[in-house]
Chain length 135, copies 4
């Protein structure tokens, strides 16, 4: 499990004054990138040099408390399941100031050749990194 | 059912060159606002004058085809379920140029007093509008 | 001159409750894309097929009235100057509900080969389109 | 002068593959918030408790090098001028990996009562903080 903290930025709230719900997924993507930082070159190297991406095929989330400007989200990322081409990441997001659960999100990604946009088997190093973080 | 079309904007793709997955939810929110345009004042009036919002408590989505810059998403919104305070909206998103299914998203919202951030019973006019669009 | 209208979306305000200032430039970019829609294939074709982009090298703007959720920006685009590789676009943005001036923005772009990221002479068709809209 | 570093995120590039020009201003706003972190409570306290904001009235920027996914922007913030209600902030943005100048941006903000949206004299503590950072 890795933990990533990120503050809600000034421009990330909506007209209701709370973090826009779609942005929770962006926060999770950031946490996933921090997860891949454990590999040499991180997510940037996968995307820009190796042209391997991990588009979402499924997302499932429960939102239990709002975040406002000034709040910090503390996101714990773990690996729930590894398939041939896919992986399921789990994110538990807390509001740091009071440790309240803010969201629980499941995110299924599929290793994809970004040039052809076709499915790939999980590369061996990616698989090993995922396996090291299965809950 | 109401149908909303929206083009993928220049700034909405990610470093993999496709519509960032979190933004699909933003597209759905736009479609939900268009849905509420069927009520006098629309979503803007609910939010800004009546201070009633509809934060998401649950989201569930399958992503089946990428959208790129220049693609248009055609989103059909319908109401799948109405509770005391909540409603479940369903979105079927197609890529307009080839009519391929791009995503199917379920979105559970709860009527909320934006001043106190507490749950409300669905206001009668909102309930009536939702009921008129149950699939 | 071409005119483009765009509503401020639910997620585009900031924690001060007004359209985040950086997003005014995104609104102008949309208006610029609508301007290029006057050419066959529009901006999408330039970017995705011809790999010709128009990155900004200079921006200059005065902001004179806030826009809120529900407001519509009415943006008039014109061409102020054409160089060998560059063009200067001018945007006059009004708040549609009361016709108040919201912003005046100048935007200098340079035709760029997106593969090599080097400057290009303005392609003949682009130049002709720009010339047809000089104020 | 304070210095703020921020990586270009996966979702912040545009269809040309570079940091979308409007987002440079968002990066500057982040740097400005870090600047105000030098005051007790920071920008968050100003906005959310004191209801004092600093909307932009003018922006002026030159963009000299693109940033891509994986690049880090190193932004130096200083105060160029202080008026009765306004302040001019200067941002020098470098691409961290090669120390190339990426952008130079000038940003004029006006102290504003967010409840009435009227101009305020600069509060004494804000003025003192600005004065301590004049270049």
């Amino acid at each position: 499990m890795i933990v990533h903290e990120r503050a809600v930025r000034f421009e990330e709230v909506d007209a209701a004054g709370i973090l826009f719900f779609a942005r929770y997924l962006g926060f999770c993507h950031d946490a996933m990138e921090r997860f891949f930082d454990g590999m040499p070159g991180g997510y940037v190297d996968l995307i820009t040099r190796r042209k391997i991406g991990f588009p979402a095929v499924h997302v499932d989330g429960d939102f239990t408390a709002p975040l406002r400007y000034g709040d910090v989200a503390r996101i714990s990322v773990s690996v729930a399941r590894i398939g041939g081409s896919s992986a399921t990441l789990s994110y538990a997001m807390k509001r740091a100031r009071d440790d309240v659960d803010a969201a629980t999100i499941k995110h299924v990604v599929v290793a994809t050749d970004l040039t052809t946009m076709t499915k790939l088997s999980l590369p061996a190093d990616v698989r090993a990194h995922l396996e090291a973080h299965v809950t």
